[in-house]
Symmetry: C2
Amino acid sequence: MKITLCQLNYIVGNIEGNALKIIEHIQQAKSEKSDLIVFSELAICGYPPYDLLFNSSFVQQSIGAIKEIANHCVGIAAVVGGVDFNYGDGKSLYNAAYVLNNGKIQHVYRKALLPTYDVFDEARYFEPSYEPLIFTHKGKRIAITICEDLWLPQIDIHPAPGKPKYQYDLISSNNALTPDFVINIAASPFSVFQHSYRYELLNKVFEQFNCPLVYVNQIGSNTDLIFDGGSVVYNKKGEKYFLPFFQESHSTIDLDTISAKGDVFQQTASLYEALILGIQDYFIKNNFKKAVLGLSGGIDSAVVAVLAAHALGNENVHCLLMPSRFSSQHSIDDAVELCKRNNLSYHIIPIEQPFRSFEQSLSSVFEGKENDVTEENIQARVRAIYLMAYSNKFGNILLNTSNKSEMAVGYGTLYGDMCGAISVLGDVYKTQVYQLAHFLNTQNELIPIHIIQKPPSAELRPNQKDSDSLPEYDLLDNLLYHIIEMQLTIPDLINMGFSEDVVKKVYRLVQNNEYKRYQAPPVLRVSSKAFGYGRRIPLVKKF
Amino acid sequence: MKITLCQLNYIVGNIEGNALKIIEHIQQAKSEKSDLIVFSELAICGYPPYDLLFNSSFVQQSIGAIKEIANHCVGIAAVVGGVDFNYGDGKSLYNAAYVLNNGKIQHVYRKALLPTYDVFDEARYFEPSYEPLIFTHKGKRIAITICEDLWLPQIDIHPAPGKPKYQYDLISSNNALTPDFVINIAASPFSVFQHSYRYELLNKVFEQFNCPLVYVNQIGSNTDLIFDGGSVVYNKKGEKYFLPFFQESHSTIDLDTISAKGDVFQQTASLYEALILGIQDYFIKNNFKKAVLGLSGGIDSAVVAVLAAHALGNENVHCLLMPSRFSSQHSIDDAVELCKRNNLSYHIIPIEQPFRSFEQSLSSVFEGKENDVTEENIQARVRAIYLMAYSNKFGNILLNTSNKSEMAVGYGTLYGDMCGAISVLGDVYKTQVYQLAHFLNTQNELIPIHIIQKPPSAELRPNQKDSDSLPEYDLLDNLLYHIIEMQLTIPDLINMGFSEDVVKKVYRLVQNNEYKRYQAPPVLRVSSKAFGYGRRIPLVKKF
């Protein structure tokens, strides 16, 4: 049987556009004499649609589009993800996989396991259904499953915190019905580890089914969630034929004769690709073209600048260098050098004049008070005014350059360096930022080595260094990883060997800075636990 | 039977403190010879705990505290809301009501209906259980229910969008077991209409049970969610004995002899009380004392100033008046007059100097470009720098003064007037702000009448008025209510009689400004659909 895997990039809510795209690929697959074409989960509306699902026009249009697509399914069958009405008790919708054939909807499979943890809110919208679907096409018995349906606790060795022990086992239900092969349509977001977890899990799924498996994931980034694709066919021997990661792909294969085609996975490279896709799609899907960012001469903004240049084209990235009285000459020189090496346009706008006017006009109000974090924050906020003014005047979108380590401990100024439309590195720890910098320098020294080698500093007061008030980043990031991703408790962390003082200090910093992150830009998610929708901590609390 | 209703204000996560408070009230009830004391839903950890529930220390401490409280339940029984482990399939926790008696946990009821819509995410944390609990105490058969358990679709005539048609009917299950009376422990947040919906619903619940009903809700505000209390006893005749709204209450009543005690509900008064509680608890629970806000001379900041003075004491509210070259003299005069009438301290800090220094330093960068929204935003952001500088230097917490109408249409400057720790009016439409202003002026003209009567203006360019670019607020707010709270679609709205042009323009403004609201402060929720956790719209979308 010839099967076409369609790993496509959908725009959330763009039902008409997504449907047209799906129809084009059906036409192409017909010309390739394909028997069956498979699209990803909720392809018709893009994943995640969130509360657009409460809009009745949205749902009606989604279902109407499925019927329109069905008209094109003559001589070929298609599996398309969409929503379906539930007229019975429970939530009013199902997360469905439509089997289209002979110009009509032939079958509807409805998702059983609805992820409701981390970034997933599926129980908010959908009712589960516990009826397996096996349909026959061209003499083959084909089982349909949707994403989480396969992530059974007994085979998922890295369950996300909050993930339930699902009682329903669709794999066994399907096995009892002896399928010839199994399809899974997915919307499985990227994270640095998810990547390997996913294929570990699918290997086990294959073992349990012991028949070919066709897995189709979406690609593309939707605000904060990045989908890497990585669709794969397991042939009957369990050999894996991978579609490419981080790009659209239309692949027509013969399930009987297909052999292995590997994926090349390297952690930092995939992190790089994920961030590039995240930046690109934020701009493309919003019809934005140009970016602006503040270049401090430090490593975070340098890495964001180079990523942005790769994602958007260097001609579309503008940098503002905004030295203060505390900026070292090397910071300015390093930032200028970075712009030159990467062909980025820039302006140098010293912040002294507005900073001084704030100091002067506040001098009577602040009389008798020492300088403190107030004056540091004024500098960061003056820079934000310049960046947003540039953005407003020229339409360049401001990229935020905060990293995950500093967002975690609140080492950043709200309405200052925490500004931006999208946070590029907000889910990338400082130690990973260094890895990215080295990765970006593999071929050419795009980031002047001095930027990488000098000790990190916010340069908001004389001779300031990050290490004055924070543990070294190797230690800090390791601890933060165990607090945020692994969700360990203070006793757990002390038992692991972290010093009690450091644990308590860092834990308190993380807890006390929820209020800053609440107002932070959306963060491109590249870990199993990013700041944002997937992490919901009360702001007012005692714990 | 003597029953004590405990309508208390808990701090989320303050397990030790909440437990101590519960124990104190148990002691008091014992001294009153009460037979049974009832606390609200998740009393032990406060509602909503959100992802603190994924922290194993948090759960263990919560369960440990219940055992500690049980030690005090000798000679009195208690019903206390808390979490319980689920060792079976599904989510690892239950939302439980513990029946404590004779020094131990005697029964555990586990919530059946888990709200997972709007601000509620209970399916993220809890497994439902469909076993009714009726226990016998002092010869009475007592049924236990938790909040949503009673909100059955067949009797809820105002279901929230996204609310499912629950298939399980605990009322019938309990009725079959013939209870003598029914207890409901709740964490039911305030909204202007929720207030009447709640008692409409409880009236119907009473009809169905046809036996006394004891309803205990929490009070207090947790970040954005305000709980109004309003606990009530329905005696066997269905007469209602209300506990007070918006304050803690410990009421020991005799279920056999209790007669009616009414509540006095007035919509604007309750809105006022809700906002006062929202401000107070944000400060008290965070150990903050003083507030700062920017006074423009307009109605929004005037109302926030007076509310803050009432909530925190006028000595704890400081105002900054920051006139620009576009500010009218009457704006400054009105703002000064407001401060005088309400005994608020203030500084006048003209923004001309820093504004001009931004203009000058950007003149070469912006050469050949016309003035536009950029310069308006710079003014708003300069003011934000002053406000945050004052906040940083003196520890006063910045109150945001944006109203719901302007947040809805994006009529505000991100990192400018959208700054603040908490948004006081972000769920209050402009027309409601006027109602609040008149309400505040009932006894004395706290808000100079000129502030209420003049046409609204942002004063960011010469002779600017809100009505230059927006429909009149009566029309706008009515339309926004139907878009946001009622979640109607464009065709629905046109069918209602709104003009197509206005509908399309306003709908697009609402959709296109999600990105601003994403970075807005938490908003005190006083409607059935506030901006924030309860409304999850993708930022990148086409719909």
